[in-house]
């Protein structure tokens, strides 16, 4: 697994570098450190959301409600900020994480305890959370003038050339990478998605792993609610509409298997960055935004094909005669493994 993944990650790095080189040939300055930092900063929210989505996808589920969660939580903290300007920012961020985690826990509860398929449960909450954002705000916008400067400007504060928003993404990447590879919870995500039955027999509580994956995804979506509102300096019901699909796309491009149990944090981050580079580059070279969507879609399909081919290789050839007459597709067997 690790070899294939490294191969996949290296491939993504290479593709991203080629893209940057090609774009900078057309638009000088595209590859300047400042521009690259800008692209990373611009992709930060997608990266954070993709990591939450990855936790859910690892357990063989999907969270379609992340963008709606983001919208509701963003609206909630923006309204809190405008109504009570004296509430300090750290408390608002904690509130964003808490509200998001709560909404995620609702998804997790439905999947774990009620047994509703994740795609249906989160399709339902997608609508509900947006509706809640509407009910909460009465359809009104929270404008720049209603929010405090600290609320709006903190994520934009540059530190060593990168705004705090970008540093937040780096911090989340570091935390999630540690959690996924170095904690029992992270391991249980891979086990629960890789072979739920085997995980059950090994004492891993598969349902609970899913529940906490949804909660993590929700908490990160809540955090992004604040980040999004402050970045665009406005909160309204329709922010980030359809953005949940971008998070799934980033995961799929990054090699997170939709069948569960396979994928790395590096892959998800690179998948998000790939989308970020395309999104930032195409306007620079005067390509219409409609092409951006078509290109993203094409890349997703290619990535899925790529994933499917890798997963097929794990299959065994049970019919020996057929195996002989078929072109060899299997990986070279591990030496000494055929005992």
């Amino acid at each position: 697994m690790s070899r294939i993944l490294k191969y996949r990650e290296l491939l993504l790095v290479a593709i991203i570098l080629v893209l940057i080189a090609a774009f900078s040939a057309r638009a000088p300055g595209f590859a300047s450190p400042k521009s690259l930092a800008n692209i990373f900063n611009d992709t930060s929210i997608l990266i954070i959301l993709a990591l939450g989505q990855m936790a859910v996808i690892l357990t063989k589920s999907i969270d379609l409600s992340v963008a709606a969660n983001l919208s509701f939580t963003g609206m909630a903290v923006a309204m809190l900020n405008s109504a009570y300007p004296e509430v300090p920012l750290p408390l608002l961020i904690a509130a964003a994480l808490g509200i998001g985690a709560g909404l995620g826990a609702i998804n997790g509860f439905m999947v774990w305890r009620i047994g509703i398929p994740a795609i249906v449960a989160t399709l339902g909450t997608l609508t509900i959370y947006r509706g809640m954002a509407f009910v909460l705000s009465g359809g009104a916008w929270v404008n720049q003038t209603q929010m405090t400067p600290a609320f709006l400007n903190t994520p934009r504060l540059p530190v060593l050339g990168l705004p705090l928003l970008g540093w937040t993404a780096l911090l989340v990447i570091a935390i999630i990478a540690t959690v996924f590879t170095r904690t029992v919870f992270g391991r249980s995500l891979y086990a629960a998605g890789g072979n739920p039955t085997a995980a059950l027999y090994a004492g891993v509580d598969v349902g609970r792993a899913k529940f906490f994956a949804f909660m993590l995804s929700g908490a990160l979506a809540g955090l992004c609610g604040y980040l999004w509102v402050s970045r665009y300096a406005v909160a309204y019901v329709d922010i980030a509409a359809g953005f949940e699909l971008d998070t799934v796309a980033a995961c799929v491009i990054g090699g997170i298997s939709t069948l569960g149990g396979i994928g790395s944090v590096g892959g998800a981050v690179l998948g998000a960055l790939f989308l970020g580079v395309i999104k930032n580059a195409l306007p620079v070279i005067n390509v219409s935004p409609f092409w951006q969507m078509a290109i993203s879609g094409l890349v997703i399909i290619i990535a899925v094909l790529f994933n499917a081919r890798q997963e097929r290789r794990k299959g065994r050839l049970i019919l020996r005669d057929a195996a002989k007459s078929r072109p060899v597709r299997m990986e070279t067997p591990v030496e000494g493994a055929a005992a």
């Binding site: 590879t181 904690t183 391991r187 891979y190 072979n195 891993v204 067997p333 493994a337």
Partner: protein, 505 residues
């Protein structure tokens, strides 16, 4: 081979299998088997689990192709290259667990795949419903063809399955344990249908473990053992004892190496374990170093009972004592913590996470031991994995490669190593040698002896009599969810166990 020849049979066989052999890699499933089916006659196919009955049925229905031998229908040899070819030759099968579609109507279920068409090639609904109604009437089944399958009872579904089997102009009907899921009354109904089919001149192959039923409905029998036909003839002239002897008939004392180990104190005491639907009132004690064989027919509730011991399902009554202390097991994690582990039957599906590295599979059930302050320690994980890989003689290029790249035997070693790493007191092995070749079987048995020698208590679920008799210190037999008895190894013979498991006293 002592084939009991039939008395003069007026009609020639409708279908004959002559010298049918079939092998799978490492296993000779069928070895020159002879079966003859006569029109208007029920022939019972009898044999232990693993005797080759299912393989034979799959060859007859075109799912497998035989390696050598011939299938002859009406004196002409046929060769089935597909399930469809077998159906075209008039062979149809009713399986134990029928595959039907809940959301479709009865008529659609009966004619799925061969619905009557009109001139435009569209489904001719009126013809389909009329023919379905006629078929159901012909087997005395008062079911409307318009009903949805999900609204029918189990027994009614069974009738639909029979109607489906008969919808293809069948001449040979194979019934694979058709009574397994039926109540007494429903069995009587089924037998009436079988009598009807007999009168219509169909040849019926009837598979059942229940002797009572076999003697009630069948005229002829064929006994399979280890993939060979051991005997055939008329049931009226053959006693049950003789058939049991044919099924078992071999000396099994020296097949498996069970080392004598010191049997210690009681480790596990199970009292009155019950489940609402799967098993009832199971009680026994298990001692240190002991191997307890758990024998019974498929579906006797053995796996269900063991899964309940392991916390996958909860018992409705009963208690557990482990080393004298009462324990309650609510989840597999509880069981592992208490020192009970369960190595499931389908190791591929239940055992390993194939895309995970070997070392992570080894440590999956013991993550608490390789964790410090909430963080996994990879070095310790590797150390633990290396220890058990060496002990089990695992052949792998590196412990960081996915388990899926290993051979089946080595994957099994990883699964067993994962459980040993939890340092259990009681290990439950569900069909530990099912589907593996003779050489590996011996290795697994030697390993089980070794575990017992180290003071582990073993519960071994097995459907293979030689294995049960060779390995167990004591044998518990389950029949239809209940304990049929518990025997010590001394003086125990196969016939006693088969009688207990089949209810043939």
């Amino acid at each position: 081979m002592s084939v009991v020849q039939a008395v003069v049979q007026n009609s020639p066989p409708l279908l004959e299998m002559r010298g049918i052999s079939k092998s799978f890699p490492g296993v000779q499933a069928l070895d020159s088997v002879d079966v003859a089916l006569f029109p208007g006659t029920v022939t019972a196919l009898i044999g232990e689990n693993g005797a080759g009955k299912s393989t034979l049925v799959k060859i007859l229905t075109g799912i497998y192709q035989h390696d050598s031998g011939a299938i002859i229908i009406d004196g002409a040899p046929v060769h089935f290259t597909s399930a469809e070819a077998a159906i075209r030759s008039g062979i149809t099968a009713i399986h134990q667990e029928t595959v039907l579609f809940d959301e479709l109507s009865v008529a659609e279920n009966i004619f799925l795949g061969h619905a009557p068409r009109n001139r435009l090639g569209l489904v001719n609904w009126s013809a389909m419903n009329a023919r379905a109604a006629a078929l159901l009437t012909s087997i005395d089944a008062p079911i409307s063809p318009y009903m949805r399958l999900k609204d029918l009872s189990i027994a009614q579904r069974h009738l639909v399955a029979i109607a489906r089997a008969l919808s293809v102009e069948a001449r040979v009907v194979i019934m694979d344990e058709p009574t397994a899921a039926l109540s007494y009354k429903e069995v009587e109904d089924l037998f009436r249908i079988i009598e009807r089919l007999k009168r219509q001149g169909k040849a019926i192959l009837f598979i059942s473990h229940k002797f009572e039923e076999v003697y009630q409905i069948a005229e002829r029998f064929v006994v399979l053992r280890d993939g060979r036909s051991i005997g055939a003839g008329l049931l009226a002239k053959t006693g049950q004892d003789e058939i049991v002897r044919m099924m078992v008939g071999r000396s099994v004392d020296h097949v498996f190496p069970k080392l004598d180990v010191a049997i210690g104190n009681t480790v596990l005491k199970v009292s009155g374990y019950s489940h609402p639907t799967e098993f009832d009132n199971i009680s026994f004690e298990l001692r240190r170093g002991e191997i307890l064989g758990l024998y019974g027919l498929v579906g006797a509730g053995r796996s269900e009972f063991c899964q309940s011991l392991f916390g996958i399902t909860r018992p409705s009554a009963g208690s557990l004592e482990l080393e004298g202390r009462s324990v309650e097991i609510r989840s597999p994690a509880d069981a592992i913590g208490a020192g009970i582990v369960y190595v499931p039957e389908e190791r591929g599906r239940h055992g390993a996470v194939l895309q995970m590295p070997i070392f992570q599979n080894f440590t999956m059930a013991t993550l608490g031991r390789t964790t410090r302050a909430g963080f996994l320690r990879e070095a310790e994980e590797f150390a633990l994995a290396r220890r058990y890989a060496e002990r089990l003689d695992l052949r792998a290029a590196a412990l960081s490669v996915p388990v899926g790249t290993l051979s089946g035997g080595n994957q099994q070693k990883v699964v067993i190593g994962k459980w040993l790493a939890t340092r259990p007191k009681v290990i439950i092995l569900d069909e530990p040698t099912k589907g593996i070749d003779i050489g590996s079987k011996a290795a697994v048995h030697a390993f089980m002896s070794e575990l017992a020698g180290e003071g582990l208590s073993v519960i071994m679920v097995s459907s293979e009599l030689p294995e049960i008799l060779g390995m167990s210190d004591r044998v518990l037999v389950m029949r239809e969810g209940r304990m049929a008895g518990i025997w010590n190894r001394e003086g125990l013979d196969a016939e006693t166990l088969v009688r207990a498991a089949t209810g043939n006293q």
